[in-house]
């Protein structure tokens, strides 16, 4: 598994497609619901899946654990939402924390973790 994260609009998906020789047909765009479609190589916008989990009262990390080996060959792309002001809205607060727990788990499982900054990648685990 390869984990790619970075702030909003940093060019994360573009980086992944370019560097791993993929195109749009390889991408599953996450929806705001607590299930993932595992039929594509790239799982993009995992934070939206986490928001779905929050709304459905599920723990994203536990679901990812259940998917287990099915995630091993995936490239998972997440927007880092951990560094701003703590949101007043409880739902957004849970979202922020649950995304952090999910990313910690994915970071521990990934063979490679890349952080994207202004379109450029930094391999922080390789």
């Amino acid at each position: 598994m390869i984990l790619i994260f970075g702030g909003a609009y940093q060019g994360k998906l573009e980086y992944a497609l370019k560097n791993f020789g993929l195109d749009e047909s390889d991408v599953y765009h996450c929806e705001e619901k607590g299930t993932l479609d595992l039929s594509h190589k790239v799982i993009y916008g995992l934070e939206r899946f986490v928001l779905g989990c929050v709304r459905e009262g599920k723990e994203a990390k536990d679901l990812l654990l259940e998917y287990g080996e099915a995630l091993e060959d995936k490239i998972i792309i997440v927007t880092d939402i951990s560094q701003g002001v703590v949101p007043i809205d409880p739902e957004l607060r849970s979202w922020r924390e649950m995304t952090g727990r999910a990313m910690l788990y994915l970071g521990s499982k990934a063979e490679k973790t890349i952080r994207i900054f202004c379109g450029l990648g930094q391999e922080i685990k390789c």
Partner: protein
């Protein structure tokens, strides 16, 4: 050499950028310009500008006030009245302020396309000068759902950042004294 610097707020980016610009101008014996991007609208702004001016005192910067249409600075004049040489070293601090000026206009209207236009202008500025240090702000890791104006502002600034990061010779992230060189 064009350099792009970004990172979180109050991280030491500006000070580091000043050092890089000054060193570049000394090495190459080129004039050193500070592009002042803030357009003051009240006494608080004017006080901030005075503080910034005194902080740069003794560094050798000539101040060029240019809050909009940044490429016009290359045919303009410094605060002390001398002509700006495009061959000089420029410190542009910050891209963020420039985008605010271009997007949120004094008459209260909003130019939603300011980001694309400014990205082009700044690429041109980098091409024409070749020795500019650009400073931006990394404002992309909030867990908020913003209103459309704020969201468009973030998206536009990110477009500018990615454009500059692609064309600059060096890209540096500053976080509290720690500097990461992306290229």
């Amino acid at each position: 050499m064009n350099i792009f610097i970004s990172g979180g707020c109050k991280n030491g980016k500006s000070y580091y950028a000043q050092e890089l610009a000054r060193d570049m101008s000394r090495e190459k014996s080129l004039p050193l310009y500070y592009l002042a991007t803030m357009i003051p609208c009240d006494e608080e702004d004017r006080a901030r500008i005075r503080r910034h001016l005194s902080e740069r005192d003794g560094w050798g910067f000539e101040t060029v006030e240019q809050g909009r249409n940044i490429c016009d600075a290359l045919g303009g004049f410094t605060l002390s009245g001398s002509k700006v040489s495009p061959e000089g070293v420029f410190l542009l601090d910050s891209v963020t302020a420039l985008l605010s000026n271009e997007m949120f206009l004094p008459d209260g209207t909003v130019d939603g396309n300011a980001g694309e236009r400014l990205a082009k202008e700044l690429r041109e500025f980098a091409d024409r000068t070749g020795n500019t240090v650009f400073v931006s702000d990394y404002i992309y890791s909030d867990a908020q759902l913003f209103d459309e104006y704020t969201e468009n502002y973030r998206k536009s600034l990110a477009l500018i950042d990615r454009t500059l990061a692609a064309v600059c010779d060096q890209v540096i992230e500053v976080s509290y004294g720690f500097k990461y060189l992306y290229k």
